[in-house]
Amino acid sequence: MDLRKLVERRKLTDRLFAALGICCVLIALLTLVVLMGDLARQGLSRIDWQFMTSFPSRAAARAGILSAWVGSLMIMLVTVITAVPLGVAAGVYLEEYAPKNRLTTFIEINISNLAGVPSIVYGLMALGLFIYQLGMNRSTLAGGLTLACLILPIVIVATRESLRTIPSNIREAAFAIGASKWQVVSHHLLPYSAGGIATGVIIATSRALGETAPLITIGALTFIAFLPPPPVMSEPPFVSFQWLHDEFTVLPIQMFNWVSRPQPEFQVNAAAAGLVLVAMTLSLNGAAIWLRYRMRKRIKW
């Protein structure tokens, strides 16, 4: 009977904790719902074709986010193209090649810490390095590189984490057949960890997508009323890299600009831009979840 009482008591604790957990989840969820709902109530009706395809304007009704979302996409492109190869290579090196000594440990700890450095610090670093030292103009390239520095540690950590989930007996199997280290990495480790790496990259990208401070620090403009020439053309020279060197703005900066204006019409624009930004971020995160699910099903240990 005592035993039964004990069991009852523990079941009660279980239920109490479950209730508490549900409360916490609800609080978090409700906050999100209220935030999103507020944004949607204000901005949803403003989102239309005109809004997506217009440049910013002094008149709130004629303003749009064309240069902002194109800018965001271009920046993300530069960021991903530079940060992913660098980060994956560094992660593979640290995990598979580097001798396990104090120096490596020191580097590893520092990289983990870099992931937590406030983003504005990256902006300052980029301002000093890219703009003043290397003499770049305040361009898409400089902005993309800045955010690449920001997400580089996240990509490195994600790469290492996902390499670590591969059991060591799989590495031994490949080595035992006579594979070189590079063959083990390229034929096995990278394919098996691609899902995890991609997930990390996407999550890092969705964080970078919302970054404002470092881009303002390096001097992103808030009013861009032109698009760069398209990167691919039908007449010679067919490709153009002008977009890399042009000035840019991004969605969160455009949004910030509108929020800081007194007219209520611009607040509506800001809410609509915010909605577009949230939609982009959520779809990136959705893609990450989908990828992880797919990879879990495909790769089994």
């Binding site: 059991p167 490949a174 057949i177 594979a179 394919p191 495909r298």
Partner: protein, 277 residues
């Protein structure tokens, strides 16, 4: 039977060779005064023994005696981890190269000496790609040749019938026993000179175990096989020669039948009768 055994008078350990004169060549490999260290830990102590060409030799002994350590010297797996050190020679015939010499390239040894592990470890790739991997590493690119060799290896490993309709399916969906036979197919696809088995059946049920034993039996005459096993009956069933190790040293090596019937050393007899280990 026990009474009979205890009546045997054992040879004088000092004057009796550890490797019985019944173990005669041609040899595929000869271990000569091998010492092995995991950092400071002395795991193999002056081990010397031959391995007869195209025959099955079992390594037995209590847990921690160094069987796996010796096996992994042959394909230089110890080179993968820092702090490990070899001394002595493992001569590979007929080229007379010392497998554990620092001058010998581990990659070459691993291509010439195949290994099957305790836990089945197929890659998370298709069945076909698992077996083809070794061939690809050896530079084979012709698809026809690849397909033929993969088929031959799967047939040799007695798993062709179960896999021929699903070669492009994931290898990890096979059962444990099938995975282990696939790993054997993967190891023999490149026709290695020596095959190393480290307790290949310890993770399997009795039926899967007997299929693997039959398979190893069928590979006799084609490959020189070293197999580590904890199962004395298994050694008795499939090994031509058996070597007993204890605390990093070789105790005795003989023809399996001779050793099981009349061990030369007291230690061997104690081990075989289950008095320790």
């Amino acid at each position: 039977m026990n009474a009979e055994r205890t009546a045997i008078t054992h040879a004088d350990p000092a004057s009796t060779p550890k490797v019985s004169p019944r173990v005669v060549g041609p040899f595929k490999a000869e271990v000569r005064d091998v010492n092995f260290y995991y950092g400071q830990f002395h795991a193999l102590k002056n081990v010397s023994m031959p391995f007869v060409d195209k025959r099955v030799t079992a390594l037995i002994g209590p847990s921690g005696c160094g069987k796996t350590t010796l096996l992994r010297c042959f394909n230089r797996m110890h080179d993968l981890y820092p702090g490990n050190r070899y001394e002595g020679e493992i001569i590979l015939h007929p080229d007379q190269i010392n497998i554990i010499s620092p001058k010998v390239e581990p990659l070459e040894m691993r291509m010439r000496i195949g290994m099957v592990f305790q836990k089945p470890n197929p890659f998370s790739k298709s069945i076909f790609e698992n077996v083809a991997f070794g061939l690809r590493l050896q530079g084979e690119t012709n698809r026809r040749v690849l397909a033929d060799k993969v088929e031959a290896a799967l047939k040799s490993a007695a798993i062709w019938d179960e896999t021929k309709d699903r070669l492009q399916k994931g290898a990890r969906d096979l059962s444990g026993g099938q995975q282990q036979r696939l790993c054997i197919a993967r190891a023999i696809a490149t026709e290695p000179e020596i095959l190393l088995f480290d307790e290949p059946t310890s993770a399997l049920d009795p039926i899967a175990t007997s299929r693997i034993e039959d398979l190893i039996d069928s590979l006799r005459g084609r490959f020189t096989i070293l197999i580590v096993t904890h199962n004395l009956q298994q050694a008795g069933r499939i090994a031509d020669y058996t070597a007993l190790m204890y605390k990093g040293e070789l105790v005795e090596m003989d023809k399996t039948v001779a050793m099981f019937e009349k061990p030369s050393f007291k230690l061997t007899e104690d081990y075989l009768t289950g008095r320790f280990g």
